[in-house]
């Protein structure tokens, strides 16, 4: 669905690259996570894929279209939800969707259906300018699926939403993916990535460090950990210890033998910990 080969981008063409020699592939029907800290080049890459930024170097094919010479009809097949919501504040939610759907050549979804889907069913006649941040975000999200895209770009789709709405959005993404929609998901949020993505790419400083499924990454990088809380010399101590490393194993045995253990449980490494291990960088 997406093929990227040797993609580089320099905003000021001054030899400083926001994205450098990036290559990856997104298969039809998968949810592909694009993860990385702020300034890593996620938006830059996504904007090149959607034609918002001009392709400078490399070969990019999106939904079968060569991005070097974008054909306008490509936009009938893709949808994009922006990180910063962008709707007409002087128009109602319904007018926003009504207007937008008329710009496509393909069959579009009913505005009321979409509003119901994202929990704005009874807010259709309110001007978007009077919406809260989360409501605007949901409207932007709803708009991105109005043309029944086969390739769906989502930039931080759940950021800033309250947990129950975020859960709804996740369910919508899962349902669309089940219907065959390919999803390109950009996020900081490792929990969402872990939950939704078939594969993730870790990008740092314009460079992809790792691409694999969350499960494989955990097997590869995630040691099994044990968290223990124990009392030693009247002090409560918390510690995370590996069950593989020799030093940690020995220490664990000592603690069990000599201390008063309060709690102890095993823990799987999170995607976040793997990210730090795999890239040597934090996520913020």
């Amino acid at each position: 669905m997406i093929k990227v080969n040797g993609l580089s981008h320099s905003y000021n063409k001054d030899g400083k690259y926001a994205v450098k020699d990036v290559s990856f592939e997104v298969k039809e029907g998968e949810v592909f996570g694009f993860l990385g800290p702020s300034g890593a080049g996620k938006s830059t890459t996504q904007n090149i894929l959607t034609g918002l930024l001009k392709l400078q170097e490399g070969e990019v094919t999106v939904a079968g279209y060569d991005v070097k010479h974008i054909k306008n009809e490509m936009f009938n097949r893709i949808g994009m939800s922006f990180e910063q919501s962008n709707v007409y504040s002087k128009m109602t939610a319904k007018e926003n969707l009504d207007f937008y759907r008329k710009l496509f050549d393909v069959e579009t979804k009913e505005p009321q259906f979409l509003l119901d889907l994202v929990g704005l069913g009874d807010k259709g006649n309110i001007k978007a300018g009077e919406f809260s941040k989360g409501m605007k975000h949901r409207l932007t999200f709803a708009r991105s699926m109005i043309n029944n895209p086969t390739l769906w770009f989502l930039d931080e789709p759940t950021t800033g939403l309250d947990p129950s709405i975020a859960a709804d959005i996740k369910d919508i993404i899962k349902a669309e993916n089940k219907k065959g929609v390919t999803v390109f998901l950009t996020t900081h949020n490792m929990y969402i990535a872990d939950e939704l993505c078939d594969r993730v790419a870790f990008i740092v400083d314009g460079d992809i460090k790792l691409i694999d499924s969350p499960k494989n990454l955990k097997m590869q990088y995630g040691d099994k950990l044990v968290e223990v809380e124990y009392i030693k010399d009247g002090e409560t101590i918390n510690e995370s210890l590996s069950t593989i490393e020799e030093n940690d194993k020995k220490k664990l045995q000592d603690i069990i033998g000599q201390s008063d253990i309060q709690t102890m449980h095993t823990k799987e490494a999170t995607l976040e910990e793997i990210f730090i291990k795999g890239t040597g960088r934090g996520l913020i």
Binding site: L52, F75, N86, Y88, S89, K90, L103
Partner: protein
């Protein structure tokens, strides 16, 4: 693609009716027209309406028709009734062998002398051919102030159209919606054209309102439209440029307003400066629009000069487009 462009235009127009400033701009031509009628009333001031008794003196009717609008009535009573109505009509009433001028008393000053004079001229047997006066200008049958105001306010409407464009661009910038539009099948060129439509429709509707409300209905509408449409080119361009350059509606409107300066300058040159110095305003597209519209409003324009003036405007605008267009395309990315 045309349908999508119309969708974009309709959205702009709809949103513009919702805000005070933009709704006011859309209503401006109507307000201008009313103002002109208050400041410079009666387009037909210098044409006298005369009423005569039917069959009285065919020769006199024929003579007077060269100078005034003549209506005939069946008898003196009908004449008197006609004069008694609100508008300015003078009756020429037979009185034995002679005639006298009958008026209601509320007519515009000076007209009555004009009526009397014509009657005298006829009785003296004077012909136009007898006149020794050299006629400098025929175009003064239209009140100059009114014509000037209508002309200027038409160009105002064109500039206002540019202002609406700027305001609509700022709206898209503030709401960051251009990015969303860029992800639809509409091409950037089509989008720019669609956003320009309001810059043409407002001046067109504005000039129709002005012409109709102020009584210039008999003009050549085709020539009028050509001149108005070409005069919008420059304000559309400035509207886009300022819309992209500025961050707030007020700043943008203020910058577009700067167009009033060259416009006023061009009018001043055309009206008050000698032939020798006219060239100083040649670079201002409004100069040519003004001259063209002026001829149209005095009913003595011809297609040759109208198209020539329009061509000058187009050429100047194209030069401006070549300079500013790359910036506009880039600004919309």
């Amino acid at each position: 693609m045309l349908k999508k462009m119309f969708t974009i235009f309709r959205r702009d127009a709809k949103v513009n009716t919702r805000e005070f400033l933009t709704a006011y701009i859309m209503l401006a031509p109507v307000i201008f027209a009313i103002a002109i009628n208050l400041i410079a009333p009666g387009i037909n001031d210098t044409t006298v309406n005369l009423a005569l008794v039917k069959g009285d003196d065919e020769q006199m009717v024929a003579y007077l028709e060269d100078f005034a609008k003549v209506d005939v009535f069946k008898d003196v009573a009908a004449l008197e009734k006609r004069v008694g109505r609100r508008d300015d009509v003078f009756a020429i009433v037979p009185d034995g062998d002679d005639y006298y001028v009958l008026q209601q008393g509320n007519e515009v000053e000076g007209l009555e002398q004009y009526a009397t004079m014509m009657l005298t001229f006829y009785q003296e047997g004077m012909r136009i051919e007898d006149s020794t006066a050299i006629i400098h200008s025929f175009d003064r049958t239209v009140p100059p102030l009114k014509k000037l105001l209508v002309n200027i306010f038409m160009m105002f409407s064109a500039i206002m159209g540019g202002m609406l464009i700027a305001i609509n661009i700022i709206e898209e910038k503030e709401d960051r919606t251009i990015r969303a539009i860029n992800l639809t099948p509409i091409s950037r060129t089509a989008y720019i054209f669609a956003k320009s439509v309001i810059g043409i429709t407002l001046p067109l509707y504005g000039s129709v309102v002005l012409v109709v409300f102020t009584g210039f209905r008999g003009i050549d509408w085709g020539q009028m439209m050509v001149l108005i449409v070409v005069s919008t080119l420059i304000s559309i361009l400035v509207g886009f440029t300022e819309g992209l350059k500025n961050e707030t509606v007020m700043d943008a409107a203020g910058s577009v307003k700067m167009l009033f300066l060259p416009m006023a300058g061009a009018v001043a040159v055309a009206e008050m400066v000698g032939e020798k110095w006219q060239w100083v305003a040649y670079w201002v597209p409004f100069y040519w629009t003004y001259k063209g519209v002026d001829s149209v409003l005095t009913y003595n324009a011809n297609w040759g000069t109208t198209l020539l003036y329009a061509l000058f405007v187009v050429i100047i605008s194209i030069v401006a487009y070549l300079i500013l267009m790359p910036g506009i395309r880039k600004g919309l990315e």
